[in-house]
C-alpha cells in the first residue's frame, strides 16, 4: 500500500512537529536529538518530549520534537512528520497525521496495516533496519540512515547534516564517525529514490533568529536553580520522574561545597534535609507523588518548627504507584492541603524549564526568609522534556538569608528567643556554631524561647504568628504571567505543562475566532491577589485540570473562588495536554452556549 510520491515545491513552514517511535533501547530517540540540533543550528527554538514506559528495555519508546520561531513548550497535536520504526509505533500516531503530514516508516518487519493511515497522509517507506544490517553490519545504523531521509524531507542541506554528525560523534572516534556518515549517505540515497533531493524536500523549514539558548529539562533547571539559589544540601531517594534532580545535584553540588545525599528512603531524606537546614544551610529534598506522600509528616514538622525547607514534587500520574512515566497534575491537593494540623506553606508551580530555574531560586529564598516549607511542583512533562530557553541571567539572582543573627547581632540583644513574636511574624534566628545563640527548635507547640507549652494564650499567639508569616510573604511571592488577548472575556487557568499547551491553545482559539487570555498563577498557594482578580474580571474561566478529580479547580475553590465562574476541562488518561484538544473543547463549550 505504498503511495505514489507526489513531486512538488516544498511547503514553507515555521513550526515543525516530528514524532519518532521505536523500541526502548534501539536508539531511535537519537533521531530526535539530531534533528533538534539541526533545527537549533538554524536558529529555531526546540522542544523535545519523551514518552517511555516504566521498564528497562523493550516496549514502545517515542519522542517528539517541535521546532518553532518562538519558544514553545509543547508539541502540537498535528504532526508534520512521523518516523515510525515498527508496527507497534503506528498505533496512536494515526490520529495525529493529516493532509499535510508525512509518515516515514521502517518496513523491515511488517508492512503498514491496511486502512490504518488516512489516505491523504504522504507515506514514505523503506526497510531501514534491514538495510542497516545488510549494508553496515549493525541495526543501530538505521537511525543515521533515517536521519538522512528526515533531513531531506525537511529540505535541510546535506552539508548541514554532515557537520552535525561530525560534531556529535566526534568523541566516539574516527571509525564511528565514518560508519555513521556512510549510513547518512545511504539515507540520502534512499531519499533520492523518493525523489527528495538536497534542499528540496516536502517541507522547507524557515530559519529563525533565536540566538544562544540552553537546552534543558525542567529537572535540570530545578537542579541549577537550587545550586544558584544557594542550596547546599539535598537529600533524596530515586524515583521516576524525580531522580534527575538528585542526580544533577550529585554531579554538581560537590563543586560548590555542597552535599547531595541518597537517603535510605524518603523519610530519612526529608528529615536529613531538615537537620541540615537547622545549621543554616539551604536544604531541600525531592521526590514524586508516592515519596512526597511519605514525607508529609516531615514537611509538617518543617512547618511547625519553622525550619526552612525546599521540597520538589515532580508529579507523575497517580494514584499510588500509578503510572510512573506519565504526566499528570494530581498532587496539587496533597501539596496544598496534605499533612496533619494547620501549617503554612508556599506552593510554586513552574510552567517551563526557565520558570523552573527562577522559581527554585525563589523557593530557596522564600524558605529561608520565611522559615517554612516551600514546594516547587512540576509535572513529568516539563520535568523531563527538553526545551531551549534563554540563558539564565545570573545578575538577576538575589540571595536573601532573612533575619539571620551573627554573634555580634546576638550580643546587642537583651534576650534572644528563637520564636520571638514580631510584627511581621518572622523571628530572627541563630544557627548552631554561633556563640550566644543557643536555642530550641521543636515541632511541638512552644513559647517564644522554644520551650514546649500548651498554654492556650501562647498557643494562639504562635499559631497567629505562623499565619502572619504568609501574609508578610505576600509581596515576595512570584507573580502570575499571562498570554493572549488581555481584553478577552474568556480566561484559562493552567499550571505546569498547561502553560505550553495553553499558549498554543490560545493561538488556536484565536484562529477559530475566540479571544482568550491564559493565566499561569506560578504561585498556587497562597493564591495571589492577581489570580483572584484575573478570575474576577473574566466572564468565564476554564481551568485545565490534568487530574481526574479536578484538583486545580478544587484548590481555587478551597481558596474561596466561586465555583460559578469555573469551568473545568479534565484530562486524566496519562497523555500530555495537547493544545488542539484544549482549544477544541473550549470552542465547543463556547459555541454551545
Amino acid at each position: 500500500m505504498e503511495k505514489e510520491n507526489k513531486v512538488a515545491e516544498p511547503i514553507q513552514i515555521d513550526d515543525v512537529n516530528v514524532l519518532v517511535s521505536g523500541q526502548g533501547g534501539d536508539g531511535s530517540l537519537t533521531v530526535t536529538n539530531m534533528l533538534g540540533s539541526l533545527l537549533r543550528a538554524r536558529g529555531m527554538g526546540v522542544y523535545t518530549e519523551r514518552d517511555v514506559l516504566s521498564r528497562i528495555k523493550g516496549g514502545k519508546a517515542a519522542a517528539s520534537l517541535r521546532g518553532s520561531l518562538n519558544e514553545r513548550f509543547v508539541v502540537r497535536d498535528r504532526l508534520q512528520l512521523a518516523v515510525i520504526m515498527d508496527e507497534e509505533g503506528l498505533h496512536g500516531v494515526a490520529n495525529r497525521l493529516g493532509g499535510d503530514s508525512v509518515l516515514l516508516y521502517d518496513s523491515s518487519d511488517a508492512p503498514i496495516p491496511e486502512g490504518l493511515i488516512s489516505d491523504d497522509v504522504r507515506v514514505l517507506v523503506a526497510p531501514f533496519g534491514r538495510l542497516a544490517v545488510r549494508r553496515l553490519g549493525r541495526i543501530l545504523y538505521k537511525n543515521s540512515i533515517s536521519t538522512g531521509v528526515v533531513a531531506r524531507i525537511l529540505s535541510i542541506p546535506d552539508e548541514e547534516v554532515r557537520t552535525e554528525f561530525r560534531a556529535r560523534f566526534k568523541r566516539l572516534g574516527g571509525a564511528i564517525i565514518d560508519q555513521n556518515l556512510k549510513a547518512l549517505d545511504l539515507g540520502f540515497e534512499i531519499a533520492e529514490g523518493m525523489e527528495l533531493s538536497s534542499d528540496t524536500g516536502v517541507f522547507r523549514v524557515d530559519k529563525g533568529d533565536i540566538g544562544e539558548r540552553l537546552l534543558m529539562t525542567g529537572n535540570e533547571a530545578i537542579g541549577m536553580g537550587f545550586v544558584v539559589g544557594g542550596g547546599r544540601f539535598f537529600a533524596g531517594y530515586p524515583i521516576t520522574p524525580a531522580t534527575d534532580v538528585l542526580e544533577f545535584l550529585q554531579r554538581h553540588l560537590p563543586t560548590f561545597g555542597g552535599v547531595a545525599w541518597q537517603g535510605e528512603d524518603e523519610l530519612a531524606s526529608v528529615n536529613m534535609a531538615i537537620g541540615a537546614s537547622l545549621t543554616g544551610v539551604r536544604s531541600g529534598t525531592g521526590s514524586s507523588g508516592p515519596g512526597i506522600a511519605l514525607m508529609q509528616e516531615g514537611i509538617g514538622q518543617a512547618g511547625s518548627g519553622e525550619v526552612p525547607l525546599v521540597v520538589v514534587d515532580t508529579q507523575r500520574a497517580g494514584p499510588s504507584t500509578g503510572m510512573p512515566t506519565k504526566p499528570e497534575q494530581s498532587d496539587l491537593n496533597m501539596v496544598c492541603f496534605g499533612g496533619n494540623g494547620d501549617f503554612e506553606r508556599i506552593v510554586l508551580v513552574p510552567g517551563d524549564p526557565e520558570d523552573c530555574f527562577w522559581l527554585t531560586v525563589d523557593a530557596c529564598n522564600l524558605a529561608q526568609k520565611y522559615q517554612m516549607p516551600v514546594f516547587v511542583v512540576t509535572d513529568q512533562a516539563i520535568s523531563q522534556n527538553t526545551a531551549s530557553v534563554p540563558r539564565f541571567d545570573l545578575d538577576q539572582v538575589k540571595i536573601d538569608v532573612g533575619k539571620r543573627l551573627s554573634e555580634e547581632d546576638l550580643k546587642s540583644l537583651e534576650k534572644y528567643q528563637r520564636y520571638a513574636i514580631t510584627e511581621d511574624g518572622v523571628s530572627p534566628y541563630s544557627v548552631p556554631g554561633t556563640p550566644g545563640g543557643q536555642s530550641l527548635v521543636t515541632g511541638n507547640e512552644r513559647d517564644e524561647f522554644g520551650n514546649v507549652t500548651t498554654l492556650p494564650g501562647i498557643r494562639q499567639k504562635m499559631a497567629d504568628k505562623r499565619k502572619l508569616k504568609l501574609e508578610t510573604a505576600k509581596d515576595d511571592l512570584p507573580k502570575p504571567r499571562e498570554y493572549g488577548d488581555e481584553s478577552a472575556e474568556i480566561g484559562i487557568v493552567v499550571v505546569n505543562a498547561g502553560w505550553g499547551a495553553g499558549m498554543d491553545a490560545v493561538d488556536e482559539l484565536k484562529k477559530l475566532g475566540v479571544a482568550s487570555r491564559l493565566h499561569h498563577p506560578r504561585t498556587l498557594w497562597p493564591l495571589t491577589d492577581e489570580t483572584r482578580s484575573f478570575i474576577d474580571e473574566k466572564k468565564r474561566v476554564y481551568v485545565i485540570d490534568h487530574s481526574s478529580s479536578a484538583q486545580l479547580s478544587g484548590v481555587l475553590m478551597h481558596a474561596g473562588i466561586s465555583s460559578q465562574k469555573l469551568h473545568s476541562i479534565m484530562r486524566y488518561d496519562g497523555t500530555p495536554l495537547r493544545p488542539v484538544d484544549l482549544a477544541e473543547e473550549i470552542y465547543r463549550r463556547e459555541t454551545e452556549k
Binding site: 533538534g36 540540533s37 539558548r213 540552553l214 537546552l215 534543558m216 541549577m224 545550586v227 544558584v228 547546599r232 544540601f233 537529600a235 560537590p254 563543586t255 560548590f256 561545597g257 552535599v259 545525599w261 535510605e264 528512603d265 523519610l267 530519612a268 528529615n271 536529613m272 534535609a273 531538615i274 537537620g275 541540615a276 537546614s277 537547622l278 545549621t279 544551610v281 539551604r282 536544604s283 516531615g298 514538622q301 518548627g305 531551549s388 540563558r391 539564565f392 545570573l394 539572582v397 540571595i399 540583644l413 534576650k415 534572644y416 548552631p432 556554631g433 554561633t434 556563640p435 550566644g436 545563640g437 543557643q438 536555642s439 530550641l440 527548635v441 511541638n444 524561647f449 520551650n451 514546649v452
Partner: protein
C-alpha cells in the same frame, strides 16, 4: 549576657532512669570542654525526647523515630558541629529501626544515645522491640548485636544509668569518637522506667561488664559478637565498651568527607555557575 532560653527542670517521674543520662550528657560537654554553642543536641519523641531542653546547647526536638537522619543531615551540612542524637528505645528501635541500620552502615560522625527502658514511657507502657519478650529471656532485639553484624559500625557501647561512673566514661568516649571523625558512636543506656517497667533490681545481675574484663579486646568484632551471643543465650547483657573499630574500614559519612559549607554569596560562584550552564548550551 544576652538572655537565652531558660533551662527548666525535667518533668520525669521521680526515679526515672533518664535523669542519670541527662546528667552524664550535660556534664560530658563540660568535661570535654566543648563550647555549648558548637553542640547540637537532637532528641526524638518520648519521655527521653526532652533531654535537649535541659542543657544550654542548641537543641532540636525531632519527629518520632527520625532523630538519627536529622542528626546526620545536620552533621553533613556542618561537620564542625558536635552532633549528639538522643532518644528512647521505641523511638530508636521500633519506628526508627530502619534508620539505625543505615546509620551503622554509613557511619556518619554523630553520637547517638538511646535511653532504653524497654517500653514506651510517654504513651504509657506498651512493649518496645528491645524488651525481653518470648525468646526465653533473650531481648527481642539487641541493637548492639545488630551493629556488630554490619561492617560499617565503629563504636558500640552500653551503660547503665545506675552505674554513673561508667556512664560518664562511655558518654565521653562516644562523643569523642564522633567528634574525632571516627564515625558513628552508638551508646545504649539502660534507663529503667519506674512507672511502667521498673526493673532496676534485675539489671545488676543481668549486666556483664566487659570493661572490667582485662582480657577483653573491644577492637575484635568477631569475639565481641561471639561473647554477646553467648551472654544472650544465658539471659545476660553485655555492658561497657563492646566494640570500637581500631581503624575504620572507610572514611566516615560516606564516600568522601564533605567540604565545609562555605557560604552562598553569589559573586564568588558566578563563574563556576556559568561553566555549568555552558554545558547546556545547544
Amino acid at each position: 549576657m544576652t538572655e537565652t532560653f531558660p533551662i527548666k527542670q525535667p518533668i520525669w517521674c521521680a526515679g526515672c532512669g533518664h535523669f542519670g543520662v541527662l546528667a552524664a550528657m550535660d556534664a560530658s560537654f563540660d568535661r570535654l570542654e566543648i563550647p555549648r554553642h558548637d553542640a547540637l543536641v537532637l532528641a526524638g519523641i518520648g519521655c527521653s525526647g526532652t533531654v535537649q531542653n535541659h542543657m544550654p546547647s542548641y537543641g532540636y526536638h525531632a519527629l518520632h523515630g527520625r532523630v538519627v537522619p536529622s542528626a546526620i543531615g545536620a552533621k553533613l551540612a556542618n561537620p564542625d558541629l558536635t552532633v549528639v542524637a538522643a532518644g528512647g528505645d521505641g523511638d530508636g528501635y521500633a519506628i526508627g529501626g530502619g534508620h539505625l541500620l543505615h546509620a551503622f552502615r554509613t557511619n556518619a560522625n554523630i553520637t547517638y544515645v538511646v535511653m532504653n527502658n524497654e517500653t514506651y514511657g510517654l504513651t504509657k507502657g506498651q512493649p518496645s522491640p528491645s524488651n525481653a519478650g518470648g525468646y526465653q529471656g533473650q531481648r527481642e532485639m539487641d541493637p548492639i548485636m545488630v551493629g556488630l553484624s554490619l561492617p560499617g559500625s565503629t563504636f558500640l557501647a552500653r551503660a547503665y544509668t545506675g552505674a554513673p561512673a561508667q556512664l560518664d566514661d562511655l558518654m565521653d568516649a562516644a562523643i569523642n569518637h564522633a567528634r574525632a571523625g571516627q564515625g558513628f558512636a552508638f551508646l545504649e543506656v539502660i534507663s529503667p522506667c519506674v512507672t511502667y517497667n521498673d526493673n532496676y533490681h534485675e539489671w545488676p545481675s543481668t549486666l556483664v561488664n566487659v570493661d572490667e574484663d582485662e582480657g577483653y579486646d573491644p577492637s575484635d568484632r568477631a569475639t565481641a559478637m561471639a561473647l554477646n551471643m553467648k551472654l544472650a543465650s544465658e539471659g545476660k547483657v553485655a555492658a561497657g565498651l563492646i566494640y570500637r573499630a581500631s581503624a575504620t574500614l572507610r572514611e566516615a559519612t560516606g564516600d568522601s568527607p564533605p567540604t565545609p559549607l562555605e557560604g552562598i554569596d553569589l559573586p564568588r560562584f558566578t563563574d563556576s555557575y556559568e561553566q555549568v550552564l555552558d554545558g547546556y548550551v545547544g
